[in-house]
Symmetry: C2
Subunit: 315 residues, 2 copies
């Protein structure tokens, strides 16, 4: 039993299920739940927890190419958390992301629980299912930092500091990675641009890890993929400082979750797509006719995050 069995069962009854968000006409709707000690700990300030809870939902809308408009926020709040402070954090984050809070629910709980529903719209929602053999496979930005940051937080680092023995450059890298983990940026502007480029054929956000999300995209599009390790853009200094800190760069790049980078496909070449998107995007391989997902010619297993098997992405 794992997550994909459950999604397959739901899809058999409700075919609209299975993308990053549901499409109803021009409207795109998603929801995600974050739970204390599963998805975050209270060592992170409420302001960042609120921002990230919004960000993971906006990232699902970004993957559909939608413009975010509204959110509903349901919270289960333990006695140790100041409910008004959390409310202020959500108001601030919503204003920063320029979205309107239109409703929600408040409840007591043992663990801080945040369930957000985000609603946006798009003239052409991007789906996971449109990739065609021959399309190039793209990643929107360098990846690997989120899982590296999580590893560091679990190994003695805080948001602002680490072991005194670590050198300046390594510390810079570590704090950047931690920041990327606790305050990831959804690719909202890029998603909207990609939605307007007819040659972009499929899109998903990297939330479970590149390997797992590439499998998701290929399954939905009934295709395979060949990607090259050397072409995957990697977070700056991950190879150098990462190794020194005990992180396995290859693993966090291939399998690290919560990146919120976009993974997408297009018939356009890298230079043309970057020009039309108005920023660099990174071609990492090609869509193939078969069903295999290959990395440098070898089978790439989906070793990212499964919400019931837990873990994966172990750096």
């Amino acid at each position: 039993m794992n997550e994909s069995d459950i999604i397959a069962r739901l899809r058999a009854h409700f075919p609209r299920i299975g993308d990053d968000a549901a499409v109803i006409g021009r409207q795109v709707i998603t929801n995600d739940m974050l739970i204390e000690d599963v998805d975050f700990t209270l060592s992170i300030p409420l302001e960042l927890i609120a921002r990230k809870a919004l960000a993971v939902n906006l990232s699902d809308l970004a993957a559909m190419g939608a413009k975010p408009q509204y959110v509903l926020i349901a919270t289960g709040i333990p006695a140790s958390v100041d409910a008004m402070q959390l409310t202020e954090a959500f108001i601030k984050a919503a204003n920063e992301y320029d979205i309107e809070i239109i409703g929600g629910d408040l409840s007591g709980a043992e663990k801080l629980t945040i369930s957000i529903t985000a609603i946006g719209e798009s003239d052409r929602p991007l789906l996971r299912s449109g990739a065609k053999p021959g399309d190039r496979i793209y990643v929107s930005r360098p990846i690997g930092a989120s899982a590296a940051g999580l590893y560091l937080l679990q190994h003695g680092w805080t948001l602002t500091d680490g072991p005194p023995t670590v050198g300046y450059a390594t510390k810079e890298f570590a704090l950047s990675a931690i920041r990327r983990h606790v305050d990831p940026e959804p690719e909202v502007a890029l998603g909207m641009k990609l939605s307007a480029i007819a040659e972009v054929t499929a899109c998903i956000d990297i939330s479970d890890g590149l390997s797992t999300d590439l499998h998701h995209l290929c399954e939905a599009s009934q295709c395979g993929a060949e990607i090259e390790r050397e072409r995957i853009p990697t977070f700056p200094d991950l190879l150098g400082s990462g190794n020194a800190l005990g992180i396995r760069p290859q693993d966090v790049v291939l399998h690290g979750g919560e990146e919120l980078a976009l993974l997408f496909t297009s018939s356009l070449r890298e230079s043309e797509l970057s020009a039309r998107a108005g920023r660099p995007v990174y071609a990492i391989g090609r869509v193939t006719k078969g069903r295999d997902v290959l990395l440098n010619g070898e089978k790439l297993e989906a070793r990212g995050f499964d919400h019931f098997r837990g873990g994966g992405a172990a750096p």
Copy 2:
């Protein structure tokens, strides 16, 4: 600090907040979260937990007079709960309520957590804010059973049995009340009918208790209310059997939550409104110009459920 302070703070920034559901054009959207050991226990079968989680959301749509269409279901599932069995329970409940599951989220959790977003539509969404002085105040059906059922479950009763010393009629009452608590029926059909009757001016569902929800309606409508205890329809045999079982009938009727009955206002008389609704509805008093909420001439305190103060509705 309580729930209404937080809602007031949110409303100051986001004026659409504050009704049972948010209105975007013809669309009506709500979400509610249920958490194990706060809102239910795992002594209740998953099938009923799933039905109730849907029901409380559909009740919010019913209060807006909307026809339910879609739901997104986010679940945090502990190891002790069979995720596939819960999935089957949601599929069954959605089919019974004739709504489409369009998305959701799956996560591990220590306590079973269910957050549902429900979407419906209405040509004329009913708000809490439309009540006018002189309008009659209505309750849609006899109330008091849900809190009575909760009390019994907390005092040795199960879904199917209680102490052997209890007589036949009392046992019938007790099991009916328990059933009403674990499997409450949202007033979807009535809500849609009321939405089509122009003389229905305001509506809310009784989820926090009659006293609290009447205060909510009066605050939103900037009016007061005078209701009469003798006119409030009471669940059959609550007065007789309830007392014998240790329940305080007056308290569960006035302050018991999770009834999912509708509380609404209209200029129409009881006989005419019942005829046009196609079923009995119960006038319990009048909307007034002042801001007091009175029961038989005395101030009626809002003693129903506050999600941070907890309790209320203590039977």
